[in-house]
Amino acid sequence: MAVDEQLKIEMGKQGVIVTSLQELYNWGRRNSVWPMQFGLACCAIEMIATTMARYDMARFGAEVFRPSPRQADMMIISGTVTKKMAPQVVRLYNQMGEPKYVIAMGACAISGGPFKQGYNVLKGIDRYIPVDVHIPGCPPRPEALLQAFITLQKKIDGQVLTGEGRPRHLDAEAQSIFPVPEQGEHDLEPTSNKGLWTVPTIIR
C-alpha cells in the first residue's frame, strides 16, 4: 500500500501530492495530540516550561492543554502518583475518549522514584493504565519531554490502520476502560492490574 518514494518526489516536483489514506490519517493524528491539563508534582513545572516559548511544544501540534479529559488525547503523568491520587488518575484516563496516549514523565511516575519505599506512593502508574512512553529523570528536562513526545508521534506514524496491530480506537474489541483501584484499609485494592502489569524479570 506504500507509495513509491521516487514517484512521490517526481510528482511533488510537478505540484502533485501523492499519498495514501493511512499516511494522511496518521499525519493528521500525530500532529494534533492535545495534552490534558493536569500536573501532579514538580515534573509539572518542567511540563509547563516545555509548553512555553523557549521549548515550545506547540511546534509539534501539542499546543492546547485541554482542561477536560473529554477533549484531550494525551495524558502526561507529570509527577508522583500518591495512593490517594491514583484512583482519580485512572478515572480521568477512563474518561478520555479514544485515541488516547499516556506519557509517564519522571522517576516517580514510572517507578515511585525517590519515594518508592514510601507507604503512600504508587510504584509506577503502569500498574493501572497502559503507558506509551516512559521518560526517566528527576525531573526530566524539557528536551526529554519533547523527545518522548516525538517518540509518541513516531509510534502513531508507524501504526497500520487495519489488521492485527491497528490502533485501539479502530478496534471495537480493544479494552479502553481500566478498573479503578479501591482505597482499602491498608493499601490500594488491588495493588496492580494483573492483566496489565507483571513483575519485570530482573536481568543481572
Binding site: 490517594k84 507507604y119 503512600n120 482505597q183 482499602g184 484499609e185 493499601d187 513483575v199 519485570p200 530482573i202
Partner: protein, 228 residues
C-alpha cells in the same frame, strides 16, 4: 522573655492545679519545654494566649511523638536469707545467713502518645515556648483536648496528628483524616506501623529494602510452585 520556670510559676498562679512540669533539654540548644496536664489544658492555653506579658498568639507548629512501651532492665540489691552449711561444723548442719545479692529485674514502662506545641508571640516578637501533652496510653486512652478553640491554626495540624498518630482531639470541630483516605485504618507514623508489602519488584535493593524483598520472595515462592 520569661524562662520556662517563670512561665510555669505564672501558669500555676493563674490556673490553680494546672499540673505543669518542666522537661529539660540537656542538649546545647537547651530548649526546655513545659508538660501540661490534660485536665486544665484549654485554660492554660487561653492564659498563655491572653496574658499581656506572654501574649503567645501564634501556634506555629503542632506535631506528635510516639513513645512505645519501653522495657527497662535494672539491677536491684536484694537482701534475703540463705541457708548455708556451717564451716568446720558437722556435715548436714546448716545456719541461716543474711546476704545481699544483686538481681536483674525487667519491667515494662507503658508507652504513650505526646503532642508537642511550638508557640510564638507575634505581638511581643518572642518565642518559642514549647508545650507537651500526653495521652494515657497508646491503645484505648488516646484522647486529649483540642486547642482549635484557642488557636485556629491547630485545626489542620490536629487533623494531621490524628491521621498519622491516632490521637483523638476532643472538642475538635471536624476531626477527619487529612492526608490518607477516609477508609484507611492505620496510623503510619506510629513506631509499630507495618507498611504494605510493596516489595515485589526491587531491581537495586539493599539494606532493609533487600531484607523486605527477600521476605516477599520467600512468601511468594510456595504459591507459585504449588500452582504449577
Amino acid at each position: 522573655m520569661k524562662t520556662v520556670e517563670e512561665i510555669k510559676a505564672a501558669i500555676e498562679a493563674a490556673v490553680p492545679g494546672a499540673g505543669v512540669e518542666v522537661v529539660t533539654n540537656p542538649g546545647p540548644a537547651a530548649e526546655h519545654s513545659l508538660r501540661i496536664g490534660q485536665k486544665h489544658a484549654v485554660k492554660v492555653a487561653e492564659f498563655l494566649r491572653d496574658d499581656s506579658e506572654l501574649a503567645l498568639d501564634f501556634l506555629s507548629n503542632l506535631t506528635a511523638v510516639d513513645w512505645p512501651d519501653k522495657e527497662i532492665t535494672e539491677k536491684v540489691k536484694v537482701t534475703r536469707e540463705v541457708q548455708k552449711p556451717v564451716e568446720g561444723g558437722e556435715p548436714g548442719q546448716v545456719q541461716t545467713v543474711t546476704e545481699t545479692v544483686e538481681e536483674t529485674r525487667k519491667r515494662v514502662e507503658p508507652g504513650y502518645l505526646e503532642t508537642v506545641y511550638h508557640l510564638y508571640s507575634i505581638a511581643k516578637k518572642h518565642g518559642p515556648v514549647v508545650l507537651r501533652m500526653r495521652t494515657g496510653n497508646r491503645t484505648d486512652d488516646v484522647s486529649m483536648p483540642s486547642f482549635t478553640s484557642v488557636w485556629r491554626s491547630a485545626e489542620f495540624q490536629e487533623r494531621e496528628a490524628f491521621d498519622l498518630y491516632g490521637i483523638v482531639y476532643t472538642g475538635h470541630p471536624d476531626l477527619r483524616r487529612i492526608l490518607m483516605w477516609d477508609e484507611f485504618k492505620d496510623h503510619p507514623m506510629r513506631k509499630d506501623y507495618v507498611e504494605p508489602d510493596d516489595y515485589e519488584y526491587e531491581p537495586t535493593a539493599h539494606d532493609h529494602v533487600l531484607e523486605r524483598a527477600k521476605q516477599h520472595l520467600s512468601m511468594e515462592q510456595p504459591v507459585a510452585g504449588g500452582a504449577e
